[in-house]
């Protein structure tokens, strides 16, 4: 059901929702940028609808809501373990179509792929998604080519309109709340883009043989293995376990998991000192193929959702989409040498 609400009405709804939910949306952290006197757009809790940044892309994705960057799993002593409590409130997440598509990828890994993840599941069950319509694509977006430019899997959608906000609601619970304020019953379709400036072509013959191409060697020196591309990615799901021992009681501590990056040193280290993929170009290849080859082999659809954040964040101006577009020539190169 579609609604149009004023800013004031939206804020009244938000304040009601805040009783049961933490509300996360892309917002501006003023002077919170990496460089002096710059802002950072990323996810944070909001109180007012006008805090949501609609006209810029969040540098980091919403995934930290479902996969906390650092998450305590349990507390331990020498002979006992106590599971960490779940957060008391559910979460409402405002996100764009590409990100909403990435939820499916996170679910694939964390709810399926062998085991269901207890900690993910207990957060996931209490998350409500609000789709933010996209009037236009940003320069680095390539969602159309990845087939993620449109989504119907939302609980509610939101678009800015002349008089406030237009919403399409699919959730009964939210519907009840909205109908208290509804000024109109409209037919609302969330805005979505149908073309992007950045285009990608994933060659149909792409195979692991691409690993033999010289194309990766360029990244050996260009890439600085900082991992930013992984941390901003809404579909990267890796983590590392850590045991922390309290300084005042060395026998007690906690086990937590923190985000990990396949680009960063240490990711593949095994006991005894061996490690795999030491060259940055090989790490790049591992990441790129995960996004556009092996994940699909396993799950039937590409992992990459084309949000373009990895392009935007790279301090060395390495473009992921540009790399994808080199795969075709890379395949030609390795097939010639067969």
């Amino acid at each position: 059901m579609g609604y149009e609400l004023s800013k004031e009405q939206m804020n009244e709804i938000l304040s009601q929702l805040k009783e049961d939910y933490l509300i996360y949306a892309p917002k501006c952290f003023q002077d919170g940028g990496r460089f002096s006197d710059t802002d950072c757009i990323r996810y944070g809790e909001i109180n007012k609808i006008e805090e949501i940044v609609f006209d810029k892309k969040a540098e980091y994705s919403f995934k930290e809501v479902l996969l906390p960057i650092s998450q305590t799993l349990f507390y331990f002593t020498e002979d006992s373990v106590k599971e960490a409590d779940a957060p008391k409130q559910g979460a409402i997440v405002f996100l764009r179509s590409c990100d909403l598509h990435s939820v499916k990828r996170l679910d694939e890994i964390y709810l399926r792929n062998g085991f269901s993840d207890y900690y993910y599941q207990r957060l996931r069950e209490r998350v409500v998604f609000v789709l933010m319509g996209c009037q236009t694509a940003f320069d680095s977006c390539f969602c159309v080519d990845m087939g993620t430019n449109q989504s119907n899997e939302y609980d509610m959608s939101i678009d800015r309109s002349e008089n406030g906000y237009q919403l399409d609601c699919k959730s009964n619970q939210l519907e009840k709340l909205l109908s208290q304020y509804a000024t109109n019953n409209l037919s609302v379709t969330p805005a979505y883009v149908t073309e992007t400036k950045t285009r990608v072509n994933i060659p149909s013959n792409l195979s692991y043989q691409i690993g033999n191409s010289n194309m990766w060697r360029e990244y050996d020196t260009r890439c600085i293995n900082c991992g930013r591309c992984n941390f901003v990615c809404p579909t990267c799901t890796c983590f590392t376990m850590q045991d922390i021992f309290y300084t005042d009681n060395e026998k007690a501590g906690e086990r937590r998991r923190v985000w990990a990056s396949c680009m960063v040193d240490g990711y593949t280290d095994v006991a005894g000192g061996a490690s795999y993929r030491q060259k940055n170009g090989d790490r790049m290849r591992f990441k790129v193929l995960h996004k556009v080859l092996d994940y699909k082999e396993r799950n039937g659809y590409h992992m990459c959702v084309g949000c373009g954040r990895c392009d935007d964040i790279c301090p060395e101006y390495i473009s992921f989409s540009h790399c994808i577009n080199k795969l075709e020539n890379g395949m030609k190169e390795v097939m010639e040498h067969e």
Partner: protein, 264 residues
Amino acid sequence: MNKNEYIPFLSEIVEVIKHTEIEYTFRMAYDGEVKPGQFFEVSFPKYGEAPISVSGIENGCVDLTIRRVGKVTNEVFEKYVGDKLFLRGPYGNGFDVDDYKGKEIVVVAGGTGVSPVRGVVDYFAKNASSRKDMSFIAGFKSKEDILFEKDFEFWRESMNVVLTLDAGEETKEHKIGLVTKYIPQLKLKEVKEAVAIVVGPPAMMHFSVLALLELGLQEDNIWISQERKMCCGIGKCGHCKIGNQYVCLDGPVFRYTQGKHLVD
């Protein structure tokens, strides 16, 4: 809500077997189902977890052979019989002895790679009638690095055992040279039907498989076990993924036909 796989359970150390200065087997109380080649995530105080493969299965116990590498596992070496360790698992697919029953079997293992195959070798030592001829080629760096030394005596009784050291002097018990030196010398009766298991460091596995193929074994009849950084053990953390396979879920045991395409 599904089970919280991350919460470990306490398991008592039933016995400690010292193989070398740095390699011990901890026999841990465990009475669930488990297969050789599977692994447990063992919590090491002050370090965290590490995947340790099951090196033996006894009534109500599993053997975990642990190598003291750096600070990783030192703390465990201070633990003794009666103490407890936190475990999770078993994880991974492990070896299925049914795959090898009724067949001529070759097992090639190097160093700590002997741990995951020990259960298979032991099974077929005790159940010799369930298979045809069997050879076990095991390589260690030196005499001091030999694991399961006593087991080798027992295994020799029912199969062709080649215990080889990288360097040193040949004796009645040990030969000298890499495992790959002894693969071509195997006398297999029905090479097309024979099955093989290869476990060890990456280079050793690579060349051993090539030698077995050279001998005439079928790719589909060779199994390998991959060592990777298995961190969560349940297909979530991503560290052990190679190609489209998760070593912790889909392995660590792979048929060579499946495993050979995996590029790191």
